[in-house]
Symmetry: C2
Subunit: 256 residues, 2 copies
């Protein structure tokens, strides 16, 4: 049987998923999509590889995954069939045949994560599942001082989860920004070549402590230098976080 | 005990409510908010009157309600307390003391309803609860011909639910529009001085039949002239519909 490599771009509402990664007995994005692909590939087991292993409750507008399929069905029809089978909270945005050596993880040049905050007093019932509601005042200038200290190539151990098992914790953060109006929606944006477990949520939790005046902006430098997670703020809750985009080079299967 | 009249502006995600109106044993917006207000008013029963009786599953960004309260608590603190008590899917956007004769229903000059449609192939997992997913082609020009025939002061019996018990079915529709891109989000907008039960959803269901080429645009005139619901299209599903705004005259308690 000839197999071909497929790239699938996915958007999902993470609320009702126990994260990306397959876990026995739990509803995960990887599990649900693998199940659908297996059905479309004549019940041959399909393994799906994701560019980012999002946590439980974390969303994606631009997750990218790859897998190998045996079906001769053309890409457009395959996307439509996948769209029909998958539930409404995980959607195949695009599907294309790519080079057999394309690898979503190894070939990713940059990932873009956004963490959304609702600063309104009342809160918005329509974004409840996708933001952290934070009506308390935030000193944005202080947060921006801290944000400006973050970009660069460094060891991020101080912002990694205790459970993070990766040995090499050196990553390059290319952008760290905060935008948003006083009494409405705001967001942190982070772009980099890779992120450790809980890294974005720990950064946000720390930056919010800075914004509330409970930590000095320079604390982020101490955390990075000491590599000590205990110096950082709490892990921000998952629902505000979204994997917006994974960037690949032109020849690496990017359909756009 | 001195009572004062209060105007409350509400936003809610209608997904988990059995509509606005109190029904025994069901979770309704009126019921949930009345319960909270009763608690804030020293356990005196509070009756809340809404400008629009939204159906089960229909949303509101600008519902307006009034009630009479005995508490001496000032408006701003009352809004904060109500915000703390109410669940995340119904939010008090504003609360203000108004003239004792202000009536949300009688004094409403205009209501604005929007019906959102997602025309993308894949669908958007983040708006799933707030749109009708309609990836099939729609002839927008045909729908606009039909929309242009709607505004005016007339009897709307042909678009009212069979269950509608109102005697006088004459209403003035001031605007009926469709906007949206081919492969993305689109919406019908309706403004008028009042709407009958299911009227917007029956209009949308009929306009979609026109857009799909299954009804002639002029059918809407036949439906209006015959006053016969059976000539119209099916009732569009509730989740796409939202009560966007209720307009009052300056002296009628409008806080803006």
């Amino acid at each position: 049987v000839t197999r071909r490599r497929i790239r699938i771009d996915l958007a999902y509402d993470g609320t009702d998923f126990a994260g990306w990664q397959v876990q026995p007995g739990l509803r995960t994005v990887q599990g649900v999509v693998e199940q659908a692909l297996t059905r479309l590939d004549g019940d041959r087991p399909v393994r799906l590889h994701g560019a980012g292993r999002t946590d439980a409750g974390v969303h994606a507008r631009g997750q990218v995954a790859h897998c190998d399929l045996s079906t001769a069905e053309e890409d457009a029809e395959l996307r439509r069939a996948l769209s029909r089978i998958l539930p409404g909270d995980v959607r195949p945005l695009a599907l294309s045949s790519v080079a057999a050596n394309f690898d979503v993880r190894r070939d990713a040049l940059e990932k873009h994560y956004r963490y959304r905050i609702d600063r309104s007093q009342a809160g918005d019932p329509f974004t409840l599942r996708y933001v952290l509601h934070h009506p308390q005042p935030l000193d944005v200038d202080r947060m921006r001082v801290a944000l400006a200290l973050l970009p660069g190539r460094r060891d991020w151990s101080g912002f990694a989860a205790a459970a993070c098992t990766v040995q090499d914790r050196v990553r390059t953060l290319t952008r760290a920004e905060f935008d948003g109006i006083d009494d409405g929606e705001a967001a942190f944006d982070f772009r980099g070549d890779g992120f450790l477990t809980h890294m974005v949520r720990n950064l946000v939790g720390t930056l919010l402590e800075v914004g509330r005046g409970k930590m000095a902006p320079e604390r982020v430098v101490e955390i990075l230098e000491a590599g000590d997670r205990k110096l950082a703020g709490p892990t921000a809750p998952p629902q505000g976080l979204c994997l917006e985009r994974v960037v690949y080079g032109d020849e690496r299967g990017d359909p756009s």
